[in-house]
C-alpha cells in the first residue's frame, strides 16, 4: 500500500539548484535508502520533508493528505533524527527526554518500550556532555520517536558510531519496520544500506533508483 508520495520537489539556494523535481513513492513498512556524496542534497531533502525548510515547488502526500500544508498532521506522523544530536548538553538523559515525553509515558517507555529497546535506561541519569557518541545518538532517536511516528526520517544515524551501537540502532529500525513503520534513511553506511528495501541515488539534484546488491565498488562508481 502506498503511504507516501513525493512529487516535483525542487530547491534552489541562490543560484545553485540542490534538488530538481524529486519524485518518490514509498510503501507502508518499507525502508528507503537515499545515497549520495557529501553535499548532494540528502540532508536538504530530509529537512524539507521534516518541515525545517520550505521547498520551492512540489508536494508531500501521506495517505493522500498534503503534509506541506498540514503542519499539525506532519508533527504527529513524522519522527525526524537530524544529523547532529538534538540534545541539551547540561541536562541528563532523563531531563532531555522529559522535553518530549510525559512523565508516566517516559517511565513506561524506559521499562518496556522503545527507550528500553534503545538501551537508554542504562545511562538515564548521565549528563549528555559525559555521554559517548553512541549514547547520544540513541538518546536522539529516543527523543525523535516520542510522538510514536509512522514515518521516520533519519539523517546518517550511524555516522562515526561503533559496531555495537550500530547494531543496536539497526535492531530498533528493523523492529520499527516490522511494526508497519516507514523509514527514509539518508546514509553512507554499508550496514545501514542492508536494512533498506529500496535505494535511490541523489546526484546533481536528481533522484534516480538504484539496486544495491552488496557491491560497494559499483555503488561508489555511481555516486
Amino acid at each position: 500500500m502506498i503511504m507516501m508520495e513525493i512529487s516535483g520537489i525542487s530547491k534552489k539556494f541562490k543560484k545553485k539548484t540542490v534538488l530538481k523535481d524529486i519524485n518518490l513513492t514509498v510503501h507502508e513498512g518499507s525502508c528507503v535508502g537515499i545515497l549520495g556524496g557529501n553535499g548532494s542534497g540528502k540532508s536538504t531533502l530530509l529537512s524539507i520533508l521534516a518541515g525545517v525548510q520550505k521547498a520551492d515547488n512540489g508536494s508531500f502526500l501521506w495517505e493522500g493528505a498534503d503534509l506541506f500544508c498540514n503542519e499539525k498532521l506532519r508533527a504527529q506522523i513524522l519522527g525526524y533524527v537530524p544529523q547532529g544530536n538534538p540534545l541539551m548538553e547540561e541536562l541528563t538523559a532523563w531531563d532531555n527526554l522529559r522535553l518530549w515525553y510525559e512523565k508516566k509515558e517516559l517511565q513506561s517507555q524506559l521499562e518496556t518500550g522503545v527507550l528500553a529497546m534503545l538501551g537508554i535506561s542504562d545511562f538515564i541519569k548521565v549528563p549528555v556532555r559525559k555521554m559517548s557518541g553512541g549514547m547520544k545518538k540513541r538518546l536522539s532517536i529516543g527523543c525523535a520517536v516520542a510522538n510514536h511516528p509512522r514515518l521516520l526520517l533519519l539523517d546518517e544515524p550511524s555516522a562515526a558510531l561503533d559496531f555495537i551501537c550500530k547494531e543496536r540502532i539497526g535492531n530498533y529500525l528493523k523492529d520499527f519496520k516490522e511494526q508497519g513503520g516507514t523509514i527514509l534513511l539518508a546514509t553512507h553506511d554499508v550496514q545501514e544500506l542492508a536494512l533498506c528495501d529500496v535505494w535511490y541515488i541523489l546526484k546533481d539534484g536528481v533522484l534516480v533508483p538504484y539496486v544495491y546488491d552488496g557491491d560497494v565498488h559499483h555503488l561508489v562508481g555511481k555516486l
Partner: protein
C-alpha cells in the same frame, strides 16, 4: 503554548545546572572590574593632588602695586593651591611653554600700572599653546576673564569717584581718596575665604556624579556579564532547533523561550549582586544621595526598575551569541561589544564629555538608551519615552535573533 512552556522549563533547568558556575564567574568578573576601577580612581586622585597649573608672568612686573598683587596671588590667595605663578622673562616663558612646563604665560606691558592710572586702554597678553584644551586652559581663561572684569570695574569705580567727589564737594585730595578705595578693595579681596560656591548640577539630568556613575557602572557590569554565560550559548548544535521545528515549535517560540530563561538568569545575577554591592557601600562609606535614609530599599527599588534595561541588554547579548558558534569568538565578541558600547555610552566617562557627533551617535545606541533609562530611574521618575525605546530595541534584537536562527537551521 504547551511546547513553549516545556521548552522554557527545560531552558530554566539548563540554567539552574550551570548557575553556580555563572554566578561565581560574575562575582569574580565584577570583583576584578571593581578593583581595577578603584585602583585607577586612586591613581588619578593622587596624580591630581601633585598636579598644579603653572603660569608664567613676564614683562614689566617691577611696579610695586603689581608686585604686591603677584605676591598676594603667590602667598595669600587660595588659588595658590591650584596655580603656581612664576616670574620670568618672555623668552624663558616661551621656551617653557613649548617644553610643556608651563600651561600659559602672561606678558605685562611696560608701564602697565601707570597707563591704567592714566585711564589708557592697555592690554595684558595671555599666551597659551593652541592645542592646550585641558583643564588648565579652561581655568586660565576663566581667571583672565575675572581679572579683566575686576580691573575694568575698579577702574570705573575710581574714575566715577574722581567725578563724583568734586560735584559733591566731599573731598579735595582725590589721590588719598583713591588710595583708600584701593586699600578697601584689596582688603575685601584678601579677606575673602570662599569667593565662590560650587553647585554641582550633575552630568546627566542633574543627577549627582556618584549616582550617575552608579548607573554607568551597573550598565557596564550588565554588558560584561554576558561573557560569563558563554558556556550556555556557544557550541550549540542546531539539531535541537531543527527537531523542535519539525515537531511544530516555531523559531520565534524557541528564541522566546531561550531568551526568557536567559533574562531570568540576568535578573537573578543582578539581584544577587546586591549583597556584595551593599557590602562595598558599607565598607567605603559611599552614599547615593537619591537613596538617603533608606539605601537598601533604594537599591532594591532601583533594581526592580532596571529590569527592562536588563531585558534589553540580555536581548542584545542573546543576539550576539546567536551569531557565534565557538567559545573564543563568543567571549571576544561579547567583551569587545560590551566594553566599546559601555565606553561610548558614558559608563566610563559621562557622555557630555564627548564631542557632539559622538553624543548624537550614543543617542542611537541601545546602551545609550539604557543609560538614559537608568538615570531617569535613579531620579525616581517613570521614564515612559525611554521604556518605549527599550521595548523597541528588545524587539529588534529578538527579531534579529529569530532571523539568524532561521538561517542557521537551513544551512
Amino acid at each position: 503554548m504547551e511546547k513553549f512552556g516545556g521548552y522554557f522549563l527545560a531552558q530554566l533547568k539548563r540554567i539552574q545546572k550551570v548557575f553556580p558556575f555563572i554566578f561565581a564567574m560574575t562575582l569574580l568578573l565584577t570583583g576584578c572590574l571593581t578593583l581595577l576601577a578603584f585602583s585607577i580612581q586612586k591613581a588619578d586622585a593622587s596624580s591630581e593632588k601633585k598636579q598644579k597649573v603653572k603660569i608664567g608672568l613676564a614683562g614689566d612686573t617691577a611696579d610695586s602695586y603689581l608686585g604686591f598683587g603677584i605676591l598676594a596671588l603667590q602667598k595669600l590667595d587660595v588659588s595658590r593651591f591650584a596655580i603656581d605663578f612664576l616670574i620670568m622673562d618672555k623668552e624663558e616663558a616661551k621656551e617653557k611653554l613649548a617644553a610643556g612646563e608651563l600651561s600659559a604665560y602672561v606678558v605685562i606691558p611696560e608701564g602697565f600700572v601707570d597707563a591704567l592710572d592714566r585711564g589708557e586702554d592697555v592690554q595684558i597678553t595671555y599666551e597659551t599653546a593652541n592645542d592646550n584644551a585641558g583643564v588648565a586652559s579652561v581655568l586660565m581663561n576663566e581667571l583672565v576673564s575675572v581679572l579683566s572684569d575686576v580691573v575694568k570695574e575698579s577702574q570705573k569705580a575710581i574714575f566715577g569717584t574722581w567725578r563724583i567727589l568734586p560735584e559733591q564737594d566731599a573731598e579735595t585730595d582725590y589721590g588719598a581718596a583713591t588710595d583708600r578705595l584701593y586699600l578697601r578693595f584689596v582688603e575685601m579681596f584678601l579677606n575673602r575665604t570662599v569667593f565662590y560656591r560650587v553647585i554641582l548640577l550633575g552630568v546627566s539630568d542633574n543627577l549627582s556624579l556618584k549616582s550617575y556613575y552608579f548607573v554607568g557602572i551597573m550598565v557596564l557590569f550588565m554588558l560584561l556579564w554576558g561573557i560569563t554565560c558563554s558556556s550556555l550559548f556557544v557550541k550549540r548544535d542546531v539539531s535541537l532547533a531543527r527537531l523542535l521545528k519539525a515537531r511544530g515549535q516555531g523559531i520565534a517560540g524557541q528564541v522566546a523561550a531561550e531568551y526568557l530563561a536567559y533574562f531570568v538568569l540576568m535578573a537573578a545575577n543582578m539581584f544577587l549582586m546586591i549583597l556584595p554591592v551593599e557590602a562595598a557601600f558599607y565598607l567605603t562609606g559611599l552614599q547615593i544621595s537619591e537613596w538617603e535614609g533608606a539605601p537598601v530599599r533604594g537599591i532594591i527599588l532601583f533594581l526592580v526598575k532596571m529590569l527592562p534595561a536588563a531585558a534589553v541588554l540580555s536581548g542584545f547579548q542573546f543576539f550576539l551569541y546567536e551569531l557565534i558558534s565557538d567559545m573564543i569568538s563568543g567571549i571576544l565578541l561579547q567583551f569587545l561589544a560590551g566594553i566599546s558600547l559601555a565606553y561610548l555610552s558614558g559608563c566610563i566617562f559621562p557622555v557630555s564629555f564627548f564631542p557632539e557627533s559622538i553624543q548624537r551617535l550614543v543617542y542611537l545606541l541601545p546602551s545609550g538608551a539604557v543609560i538614559r533609562y537608568g538615570t531617569k530611574c535613579m531620579q525616581g521618575s517613570f521614564p515612559a519615552a525611554e521604556s518605549g525605546i527599550m521595548l523597541f530595541y528588545l524587539l529588534v534584537f529578538l527579531g534579529l535573533a529569530v532571523t539568524v536562527r532561521e538561517r542557521r537551521i537551513k544551512e
